[in-house]
């Protein structure tokens, strides 16, 4: 049952990461919420065009991408959990796996874009495709930034593993707290990226 004692539940409320990152995350969520609403509103004005254009989207690509991001979020959550332990072991692996999932997302996205563009579909083709390219494009930008964040998390994890192995290095308690705060902040950003796609996928690909 050593797992249970290491898997400590925080008894007092704790903001994941730091307050500042939530200014950004919530701000971003509000803006994407606005995007979603603008999309659905305009769709209502001209649903035929949207319906027909949507039929050309590859739902399998969209679903695979959702699974990629969900898996990457899972790996990030596991990595963060590992970083909280006294002896850090698997965190670098988890963050690497998360990065690979992110890469998978990127590859599928590029394949998808290339297919559309070579079929002559661009962001000025019609309203639906305008939203499709711009929203998935902005989201993809967030994913790319997120990959940078994952690299940062991986570097922190690796350093933590090396510290665990070398007993001559000890980190001060508040330094460790600061580090966890940064790690939680980065992880929260990545989960936001996942979250936005979870809504974007049915909105663009599935809702008829």
């Amino acid at each position: 049952m050593s797992e249970a004692s290491e898997y400590v539940k925080k008894t007092k409320p704790h903001v994941p990461g730091e307050v500042g990152i939530w200014v950004f995350i919530l701000g971003d969520m509000v803006i994407f919420g606005l995007f979603f609403i603008v999309f659905i509103y305009n769709r209502g004005l001209n649903s035929d065009v949207y319906f027909q254009s949507q039929a050309t989207l590859n739902q399998n690509y969209g679903a695979i991408n959702t699974l990629f991001l969900l898996a990457s979020s899972w790996f990030v959550a596991m990595g963060v959990d590992d970083m909280r332990r006294k002896v850090v072991r698997l965190a670098p692996l988890f963050f690497t796996l998360a990065m690979l999932c992110g890469l998978g997302f990127g590859v599928v996205k590029i394949i998808e874009y290339r297919e559309k563009i070579s079929a002559g579909i661009t962001l000025t083709t019609n309203d639906f495709y305008m939203y499709y390219y711009i929203f998935t494009g902005l989201h993809f930008l967030h994913v790319l930034i997120g990959m940078g964040v994952l690299v940062f998390l991986w570097l922190k994890a690796r350093a933590a593993v090396q510290r665990s192995a070398d007993t001559s290095i000890t980190k001060k308690e508040n330094e460790k707290e600061n580090e966890m705060m940064l790690i939680e902040s980065g992880a929260s950003y990545w989960h936001m990226v996942d979250l936005l796609w979870i809504v974007l996928f049915p909105l663009l690909y599935l809702m008829k």
Partner: protein
């Protein structure tokens, strides 16, 4: 290895994967029967609801907002309710809104 899979986050992830697969399946054409025109709208609304339930799970369990101060929990839930509500409302009544 097994203990990783037994963690709450792993159960969460599994559930989210299943919900995604369900949504993907529902989104396929066979789920949208052509006869009753409002039928597909119910399925689509359901897909949106599932999406926001998934989003809430990501917020609560992956982002760990479950252990956050009440204010943050409320703000996140408000976002979920407002955006989901607006989307579903406009989806059903959008043309009526634009006629104003």
């Amino acid at each position: 290895m097994m203990h990783q899979l037994l963690k709450p986050v792993s159960a969460t992830w599994l559930f989210l994967m299943l919900a995604t697969s369900l949504s993907w399946w529902l989104g396929q054409d066979q789920a949208f029967s052509s006869d009753i025109s409002s039928d597909y709208r119910i399925v689509s609304s359901g897909l949106m609801l599932i999406a926001f339930i998934k989003a809430r799970i990501v917020i609560r369990y992956f982002m760990e907002v479950r252990e956050a101060p009440l204010a943050l929990k409320l703000v996140c839930d408000t976002w979920l309710v407002l955006v989901c509500g607006a989307i579903i409302y406009l989806y059903w009544f959008g043309s009526a809104v634009s006629a104003i």
